[in-house]
Amino acid sequence: MHNRHSALDSNYFPGDYPFNNETNISFKEYNNINIKQISCWPEALEKAESFLKKELELPYVPQFNKGIVEKKFSLWRIEPLKWWAIDKEINFSEELGTTLEISHSFTCISISGENATLLLNRHLPLDLRSINFSECSSASSAIHHVSIKLLKYSDNNYHLFIPRGFGLSIWEILLETAKQFGYKILER
C-alpha cells in the first residue's frame, strides 16, 4: 500500500518559531491516525456499553463528551450514541449499531504547551477552563466556520480534528495566531 499523504504536506515545516525567544505552543500532526466511528441504536445503548467495556477491557465507558485514554488507543463518546475508537479496530454488530471507517476524514493536530488553551480560545467559543473542561473531555465546535472536534488529553494538551479538506486552511490560520505566543512544529 502507498504511504498516506496528509492535507498539511505542502505547509508542514517542523522547527522552532519563537516570539521573544520563547515557544509556548507545540504543534504535531498525527498523520496516520486510524478512526473507527461506532454508533449504537438508542435501545441498544446498555448492551453497546457492555460490549465496549468487555471488548476493549475498559474500567468504564466514557459518558457523552468524555473519553478514556489507554496506552495504545483511546475511546471518545463524541455524541450521545456515537464513539470514536482511535487507533483501535472494533466493530459493532448490526444488533448494536453501525461501524464506519473515517480515518481519512480528518486532519488531527496535537496542540500542547503553556499557551495551548489561550490559542484555542482565540478561535473557539468553548469554556476550556479545567474546572469545566477536564482531562479526557471532548467538544464539537467550529473554527472559522469549519466544524471541528476537540479532545483534551491533559492540561494544555489537546487534539484538534479538522475536516480534511479544510485542514490546510485552518492550520495556516492557527499558525498565524500562534505567532504571538511563539511555537514549534514537531516532526510527525
Binding site: S39, H123, S169, K179
Partner: protein, 989 residues
C-alpha cells in the same frame, strides 16, 4: 488658556521623555502621558475643528466622552481618524494631526461655515429635498441629487487612508464567574470581595491603569492595587473597553493590544475583540461629568472640572492660569482647591444660593447665585460674562478675565451597558440624573454608575455588588445593602442652559455634532418632539458621543419647551458600541486569504503540480482547466473535451458530496427519499436518483451504491452536499424516528477521480491488481466493485458516466489520492489522454444534456427536467404528493428542458440568455438558456435550458436569444437536450 507642566504634581515618569509629532511639528511628553495631556503640557490649544461650523475646538475632557479632541493618528496606511486624544497613550514617534480642517486646524477655510451657520441649522439636509424657497425649483429627488454630493463631501470627521489596513486583528473568547467592568473604587472592592471567595473574576478597565477616578488622587497607588488584585487571582484586562452587553451575560470587549506602542509587525494583533461569557456581570462603569449650555461654551479652554483634576494629579499639567469654574454641585470644590494649590487663580460660579462644605479653602472666591453667560474670545478664552442665576431672562452682570473655564453641570451615571439590555434608566430628581433601572438579568450596577457619589459609599456598593452576584449564583447568604444614591453635602440645583439673551447664540448641547440649544428649539418648533425624533433630526447624541455629553441637556431643553418633566420626555436607548469599534477588530483574522475558509480536495497540490488553473466553487477550489503551451481557457477545454471523446481523460471529482447510509432500514429510508425505486437495487449496483423537496420541486440528484444488504454510499452534487446531509438527518430525527438508520458525511473520507473516454477501461485495467474486475461482463454500466490498486491500496470503482463516454469513477481513501493519481495519470498518458477540469466537464455534460445546479435551481420539477419517468407511481416518497398538484402537473406550458443551437452556427451565446418569440422580445420571455459551451464534436456553440412547452412546441421554429446584459440577440432553434449519442451506446460500451 495657558496650560503647562508643573513640578510636584502628576504620576508620569519624568525620567522617560517621549517625542511625538503634532501637525508636522515635534514635541515632547513623558511616559504615562496621553496625547491630550502632552498637547496641553505643550500649551497647544486648538486640536480640531467642529463638525458643521468648523469652529476651533480644544481638549474638553480626559476620557472616552471627549468631543473636541478627535484627531487622526498615524499616516499612510496606518492612518486612523477620529481617535480621542484623551484616550490615546503617548508613544515614541507618535504622529497625530487635527482633522476636519483645511489647510490645518489653526487656520481653516471651512470656518466660513461659522458665519453661514443660519443655513446649517438642524435638519438642513432634510430640507434640501424640498426645493429652495421662494422659487421651489427642482423640488424632490432632483434637488436632493444636486445637494447630496456637496453634503456628503462635507460630512464626516477625518479621512480614511483608503489603503489596506496593514495591522492584524483577532477574536478571542473567555469565560469567568464574575466579570467586573470598571476598576474604580467600587470595581476594585467588588473584585477583592469576589476573588476572596475563590471565584474566577475578570476585572476590565478601559484605561491603561487601574483605579478609575482614584488615579487623580495623589495618594492612590495603582501598581500596589494591581499587585494586590493579581495576588488574589483576579484576572486583569486593562486597555480593554466593554463596548456591548448582550444576552445571558455575554459581553463584548475591545482590547487595544498595540495602540499604545509603535508596532509595525503582524505577530501581535493591534486589537483583540473579546467575547466573554460570565455567570454574573458587575458594572462599575462610573459616571460622566456634564457641561452647561451657554453662549460660546465651546471655545478652546472649556473643559470639565474633573478633567482638570486628572490633568493636574495624573499628568502634572495645570490647564489654566486664571480659571473660572461654573457649577451647580459640590463635586468641583476639591478640584478648585487643588488647582489653587498648584498656582492657579480660581473663581467659582455656583448657581446655588449657598453651600456648606468642610475643609474648603476660603481663599478661593466663590460667586453664589451666579451662572456663566457667555465666553469672550474665538480661538482662546479672554474672559467670561456672568449672569445672575435668579434673574431670567439672563443678562450679563459682570465679566471676569480668565484663560480657562471649567464646567460641571452635574454627573450622569454611565448606564449604557445596562441600556444595551433594554433596561430603561430612571430619572432621579434629587441627583438630577438617570439612574440604572431594575433588571432581572444577572447584572449588578455599582459605584457612581449607580448614582453613588462619594468614595466610601462606592466601595460599600462594590462589596454589596459582589455579594449580590454571589447571592444570584447561590454561593452566598450574607446580607448586603447598597448605599443610597447621591452623597453630596449640598443638593444639586438644576442648571442645563443659560439662555443667551441675544439672537444667533452658539450655545452647544452636543459639541461633536455642533448641536446647539437653538437646534433643539427648532426641532420642537418643527414637531420633532419625541426624543427619538429629536435625536435623528438634530443628530444629538449620535456618533462617538452616543449621548455621553449632551443627552441630559437636550432632554431638559425639550422638557422645558413641552412644559413637562424630564422623565416624561424620556431618554433614548443606548445601543452598542459604547465607544467606537474598528472594522478591523470586527473582521478579526477573517481577511485576505482567510476571508473564508478554503476547502481543497486531497489532490489539490497534485492538480497544481500538473498545471491546473483553479476556480472557486463554493468554498472549494477545483481545477478549471489544464493549459498546455500557453493555451487559453477555450483552447484548453476544447482540447480536453476532444481528448475525452476520442481517448481518455482524468478529472478530480472529489468535491461531490458523499454520505454513508447504514442500518437495517437503510433501503427503506433511501426508497422514501428518492423519487425512483431503490427497494430492489442489488448489492454491487448503483442507481441514479432524484430527490424532491416536500413541495415537489427537485432538490438534488446523485447516485447511490448498494455496498451491502444494509449499507449504501450516496453521492450528491457538490453544491447541495451539506443541504442533503442536513435534510437526511432532519428526516431521521423528526419524521422517521422509527427507522434504524445512521447517516454520516464521508465527503472528506473519499477522494474520487472520474476516468472517461473510450480508452478508460484499458487505462484503468493497468492500475489494478486484478484487471478482470472491470471487464464489461464483471462491471457493467451502473455497476460497482471493490478492488485494489496495483500496490494493494483498496479502492471502490463505479461504472458511471457524466460525460456520456465509457466512464468510471474511482474512490479511494483521501490520504492515498495523490498516489492513485500518479498511477492513473501514468497509464492515461500511454493512451495520449489528458487531465481535464471543470470547464471540459461542463462541456461534456452539456453535450449530453445532463442537468446540474444551473438547471436544478429550485424552480424545476422532475418533469420540467425531462426526468418524469423517474417519478415512481408505485410508492410514496418525499414530494410525491405535492408534485402532482395542479399548478405543477396540469400546466402543459411549464418550461421544460431542451437543447439550443444558434441558427447561424458561427454565433455564440451565453448562459442567462432569455428565450423569446420573434417580435415578442420583452420581459422574461418564454424560457432561458442555463448552460452553454462550444461543442467540439458538433463544431458550434450549444446550450441547454428551458422553454415553455418544451421541444415539441417549438421544434422547427426560430426563436430569439436575447441577452440584454451584453446587448446581444441571435436566432436560435430548439433541439433535444441529448445532443451526443442520445442512445447512450458509448457509455454502455
Amino acid at each position: 488658556m495657558s496650560s503647562k507642566r508643573i513640578d510636584n504634581f502628576g504620576k508620569i515618569n519624568r525620567d522617560k521623555i517621549i517625542s511625538f509629532n503634532w501637525e508636522k511639528k515635534n514635541y515632547f511628553g513623558y511616559e504615562g502621558d496621553t496625547l491630550a495631556s502632552a498637547l496641553l503640557a505643550n500649551n497647544i490649544k486648538i486640536v480640531g475643528r467642529s463638525f458643521k461650523y468648523h469652529r476651533p475646538r480644544g481638549i474638553m475632557s480626559c476620557g472616552v466622552e471627549e468631543s473636541g479632541a478627535l484627531v487622526t493618528i498615524g499616516s499612510l496606511e496606518k492612518r486612523d481618524p477620529n481617535v480621542r486624544a484623551t484616550s490615546q497613550e503617548l508613544y515614541q514617534g507618535l504622529e497625530a494631526s487635527g482633522q476636519n480642517a483645511f489647510p490645518n486646524v489653526n487656520f481653516d477655510f471651512g470656518e466660513i461655515n461659522n458665519y453661514l451657520s443660519r443655513f446649517f441649522a438642524a435638519g438642513f439636509y432634510y430640507k434640501t429635498f424640498m426645493g429652495v424657497p421662494p422659487f421651489e425649483w427642482g423640488s424632490g429627488t432632483s434637488i436632493w441629487m444636486f445637494f447630496e454630493k456637496i453634503i456628503r463631501k462635507a460630512a464626516g470627521m477625518g479621512k480614511l487612508s483608503r489603503l489596506a489596513d496593514p495591522d492584524s486583528y483577532e477574536h478571542a473568547h473567555d469565560f469567568c464567574d464574575i466579570l467586573i467592568v470598571g476598576s474604580g473604587p467600587a470595581g476594585i472592592a467588588a473584585a477583592k470581595e469576589a476573588a476572596d471567595k475563590k471565584l474566577d473574576v475578570i476585572l476590565v478597565e478601559q484605561d491603561s491603569l487601574l483605579g478609575g477616578d482614584q488615579i487623580a488622587e495623589k495618594e492612590f497607588d495603582t501598581n500596589k492595587t494591581l499587585q494586590e488584585l493579581k495576588g488574589l487571582g483576579v484576572r486583569i484586562m486593562n486597555r480593554t473597553t466593554a463596548f456591548g452587553l448582550y444576552d445571558n451575560c455575554v459581553i463584548g470587549l475591545i482590547e487595544r493590544v498595540t495602540d499604545h506602542i509603535y508596532y509595525d509587525k503582524k505577530d501581535i494583533p493591534r486589537q483583540r475583540f473579546w467575547t466573554i461569557r460570565a455567570k454574573h456581570i458587575i458594572v462599575g462603569s462610573g459616571s460622566l461629568e456634564r457641561h452647561i449650555a451657554f453662549n460660546n461654551n465651546d471655545i478652546p479652554g472649556v473643559m470639565t472640572v474633573n478633567a482638570a483634576k486628572h490633568y493636574l494629579n495624573r499628568y502634572g499639567v495645570l490647564t489654566g492660569k486664571d480659571i473660572v469654574i461654573a457649577t451647580n454641585n459640590d463635586s468641583v470644590y476639591n478640584t478648585a482647591d487643588l488647582l489653587s494649590q498648584a498656582g492657579a487663580k480660581v473663581v467659582i460660579l455656583d448657581s446655588r444660593k449657598e453651600v456648606k462644605l468642610d475643609n474648603f479653602n476660603n481663599n478661593i472666591q466663590v460667586k453664589f447665585e451666579t451662572v456663566p453667560y457667555s465666553i469672550n474670545g474665538s480661538r482662546k478664552i479672554k474672559s467670561i460674562d456672568i449672569a445672575d442665576a435668579n434673574h431670567q431672562p439672563y443678562s450679563k452682570i459682570d465679566s471676569i478675565s480668565c484663560d480657562q473655564v471649567l464646567i460641571s453641570g452635574g454627573w450622569s451615571p454611565a448606564v449604557h451597558l445596562l441600556s444595551h439590555r433594554g433596561v430603561k434608566a430612571k430619572w432621579n430628581a434629587e441627583n438630577l440624573c438617570f439612574l440604572p433601572g431594575d433588571t432581572k438579568e444577572k447584572i449588578t450596577m455599582i459605584g457612581s454608575a449607580r448614582g453613588i457619589w462619594n468614595k466610601s459609599d462606592c466601595i460599600k456598593s462594590g462589596i454589596a455588588g459582589a455579594l449580590d452576584a454571589m447571592h444570584h449564583m447561590g454561593l452566598s447568604k450574607t446580607n448586603y445593602f447598597f448605599p443610597k444614591e447621591g452623597g453630596w453635602s449640598n443638593p444639586i440645583q438644576p442648571l442645563y442652559e443659560v439662555k443667551y439673551n441675544k439672537s444667533r447664540s452658539k450655545s452647544f448641547v452636543d459639541y461633536q455634532h455642533d448641536v446647539t440649544a437653538d437646534d433643539v428649539r427648532l426641532a420642537h418648533r418643527e414637531g420633532f418632539i419625541s426624543v427619538e425624533h429629536l435625536k435623528r433630526y438634530t443628530t444629538l447624541g449620535m456618533a462617538n458621543d452616543q449621548g455621553k455629553m449632551g443627552n441630559i441637556i437636550g432632554l431638559s431643553l425639550m422638557a422645558d419647551l413641552l412644559d413637562k418633566d424630564i422623565p416624561e420626555v424620556g431618554t433614548t436607548v443606548f445601543r452598542p458600541p459604547y465607544t467606537p469599534v474598528s472594522i478591523g477588530a470586527l473582521a478579526g483574522r477573517n481577511v485576505g486569504k482567510h476571508f473564508r475558509p478554503l476547502r481543497v480536495t486531497p489532490m489539490h497540490q497534485w492538480n497544481l503540480d500538473h498545471g491546473a488553473i483553479m476556480i472557486d466553487v463554493g468554498l472549494y477550489q477545483r481545477p478549471w482547466y489544464f493549459p498546455k503551451n500557453n493555451e487559453t481557457l477555450s483552447e484548453s477545454y476544447i482540447r480536453e473535451t476532444t481528448t475525452v471523446r476520442k481517448s481518455v481523460g482524468v478529472c478530480d471529482v472529489t468535491s461531490l458530496g458523499k454520505i454513508a447510509i447504514q442500518g437495517p432500514d437503510a433501503t427503506e429510508f433511501i426508497n422514501r427519499v428518492y423519487s425512483n425505486a431503490f427497494a430492489k437495487l442489488p448489492i454491487g449496483k448503483t442507481r441514479y436518483g432524484i430527490m424532491l423537496r416536500d413541495d415537489g420541486i427537485v432538490m438534488d440528484d446523485g447516485t447511490s451504491w448498494r455496498l451491502s444488504e444494509n449499507e449504501y454510499l450516496m453521492t450528491t452534487s457538490t453544491a447541495q452536499a451539506g443541504k442533503v446531509m442536513s435534510w437526511l438527518e432532519e428526516l431521521l430525527q423528526t419524521r422517521w424516528t422509527d427507522l434504524k438508520v445512521n447517516v454520516t458525511s464521508v465527503s472528506e473520507q473519499w477522494a474520487a477521480a472520474a476516468i472517461s473516454g473510450p480508452k478508460s477501461r484499458e487505462a484503468i485495467k493497468n492500475c489494478l491488481e486484478n484487471p478482470s474486475l472491470i471487464e464489461n461482463k464483471n462491471l457493467p454500466f451502473m455497476g460497482f466493485v471493490s478492488a485494489n490498486l496495483k500496490d494493494g491500496t483498496p479502492c471502490r470503482i463505479v461504472r458511471i458516466s457524466f460525460s456520456g463516454e465509457l466512464g468510471y469513477e474511482i474512490y479511494i481513501g483521501s490520504d492515498y489520492a495523490n498516489s492513485m493519481m500518479d498511477l492513473i495519470w501514468k497509464e492515461v498518458q500511454n493512451y495520449n489522454g489528458c487531465l481535464y477540469g471543470l470547464e471540459a466537464l461542463g462541456a461534456l455534460r452539456v453535450e449530453k444534456g445532463h442537468v446540474t445546479g444551473a438547471e436544478l435551481d429550485g424552480r424545476v420539477t422532475i418533469e420540467d427536467a425531462g426526468l418524469g419517468k423517474m417519478a415512481s407511481t408505485k410508492k410514496s416518497y418525499i414530494g410525491s404528493a405535492m408534485r402532482t398538484r395542479g399548478s405543477l402537473s396540469a400546466n402543459k406550458d411549464r418550461e421544460q428542458l431542451v437543447g439550443f443551437f444558434p441558427v447561424d452556427k458561427k454565433e455564440t451565446f451565453d448562459a442567462g440568455t432569455i428565450v423569446c418569440e420573434k417580435n415578442k422580445i420583452k420581459g422574461s420571455g418564454i424560457g432561458r438558456i442555463t448552460s452553454v459551451t462550444h461543442s467540439p464534436e458538433l463544431g458550434h456553440w450549444i446550450g441547454i435550458g428551458f422553454v415553455q412547452g418544451g421541444k415539441e412546441k417549438w421544434h422547427n421554429t426560430t426563436l430569439i436569444g436575447s441577452d440584454p446584459v451584453r446587448n446581444k440577440q441571435m436566432e436560435i432553434e430548439v433541439v433535444s437536450p441529448h445532443m451526443i449519442d442520445p442512445e447512450g451506446k458509448r457509455m454502455h460500451a
